[in-house]
């Protein structure tokens, strides 16, 4: 089961919904890994919207698991990319070409949804008009508040900043602009006293 119900948290922490088909002239769908399941569920509700859909899919460690099933939905355009970073230029181009009536659907990990949402917001789409559905890993994209470096796919609290090496604790405070949660030095007041890392939401 790839759905996870996040516990209630502070006001800056994003909340995700369930994708639903909405009327639109075009449908941009960006998903990673198990996010594909949300698109398949969407198709089960209304397969017709896929005739005007552009799917951008990053399988990550799911490999080929979902690729053929997504392809079978016969979207107007279907792109499978190796990483989110590799797909960004394409996403920007699609958004800059977009017209009124574009629906945006994001599904998968928080890091993917946050970054893609940021691109859509930069293109002038209000975040409240963008649908999101979390599927798969609960890993987080974290910004180190000290060195500003981003560490992707953080699975434990605390964790080591991949840029400056500080031990950071995982906050729920979230910046849409950075598409990242905030990581703060865990042993600042007592250097060296770093708690044993615990897997997120375990």
């Amino acid at each position: 089961m790839s759905k996870f119900q996040f516990p209630e948290s502070i006001r800056s922490r994003p909340v995700y919904g369930t994708l639903e088909p909405r009327p639109g002239k075009a449908h941009l769908m960006i998903a990673d890994a198990e996010g594909a399941e949300a698109l398949l569920d969407l198709a089960a509700q209304d397969a017709a919207i896929f005739r005007a859909a552009h799917i951008i899919y990053i399988p990550k460690d799911t490999g080929d698991t979902y690729v053929d099933r997504l392809k079978a939905l016969e979207p107007a355009q279907f792109y499978v990319g190796p990483t989110y970073e590799a797909s960004v230029q394409r996403i920007r181009r699609v958004l800059s070409d977009a017209h009124m009536g574009l629906q945006v659907y994001l599904a998968g990990t928080e890091g993917l949804m946050g970054q893609a949402q940021n691109e859509a917001m930069t293109a002038g789409i209000p975040h409240s008009a963008i649908q999101t559905e979390h599927r798969g890993s609960v890993a987080r994209r974290m910004q180190c508040v000290h060195c500003k470096g981003i560490t992707e796919d953080v699975m434990t609290d605390p964790f080591v900043c991949s840029h400056c090496g500080l031990n950071l604790f995982v906050r729920d405070h979230y910046s849409r602009r950075l598409a990242a949660f905030q990581g703060v030095c865990v042993d600042a007041e007592d250097p060296g006293n770093v708690p044993e890392p615990v897997e997120l939401y375990k």
Partner: protein, 355 residues
Amino acid sequence: MTIQFNEETFRDDYSFRNSDWAIKRFPFPFHEDSYMYSVNMEQHRGGPEGSVYEKRFDVDEHYVSEMRDRAIVLADDPLRCQSLPHMTLAGWDTLELIMVSKSEDYPDLFELHRDGDRWRWINKPMGIDHTFTFLDETTLPCGPLEYITRQAQGDYAVLDQRNDMLYMDAGMITTQADWSLDFDIGMDFFEWHAPVPLAHEMGIFKRALKFLLNVQQGAPARRLNWTMTVNPLLDTSPENYHKWGVQKSTLTPQNIGSKQHLRVELQTFYRLPRSNALLFPIRCYLIAFQDIVTIPKWGRRLHRVIRDLPEELATYKGFIDNRPMMLDYLSQYDDGLPTSPGVWPDLDTEPPLQK
């Protein structure tokens, strides 16, 4: 000049000191012997002569040294001052408000001469005499918000107002109580306050937002907030927390009186005329425990407030570990006598310490 500016530091050797004048006018934040969150807004229309509330933008003995400290912070980390592209006009509004207020309130220190858009600004304490064109960024060495807030004590958040909401869309933040402009920029009012415990559940932020959305031009408001800081460190930023956090563990019963500081924010709120943004100056005042207790009423009261503060608040404000040591120190200055209502020192009417 009427104010003798201190030569002092807010880092390294921490030579910051408050004169007797600064101690007596300190904005003590507790009007009674206990504390809980409240919206506690009032009009910012002056105050008793000599108090920090008297002028629109208070200038005190720390001015020149604080501005030097800000320049150091900005050189280390330019991201402490940011302005989203749509906020430039609000920056000019801020520049105008501060220049006009300071030149009117402190004519011996600041002068503003306006000839149409041609403005001449003289800042005597900082040795600045600069002519520029209002609303023309190319005539300033940096953006208008950065330019003027390099010359004004306190942090400045500039809040855009749209959709019945306030957004943290610009700011100059170098003396903050542990929050990051770089992380929070662009957030709405509830989002940037998200980490604050209890207050959301109490409805504090909903009421505060409603009030702030309705602040009118020419009718500024103010409130106080407070926390604790070990050493007179202005830059208690999350960015540098891995450097200063360890100072919290340097308190001892011997040094607590001089090292532990009460940190008070005088927060004011101004509607800006062209942009309709809300300017939110957050002015930080620091005072050592040993100076607070020279005012008998404040010594008695601070002990009671810190003793009875809910644990969540002591944790959020970052002094839960040091609270027992603080109480050991402060209890020496609490003889159990009643205290007069209100924040003022009442030196003439309150009895001296009976211990």
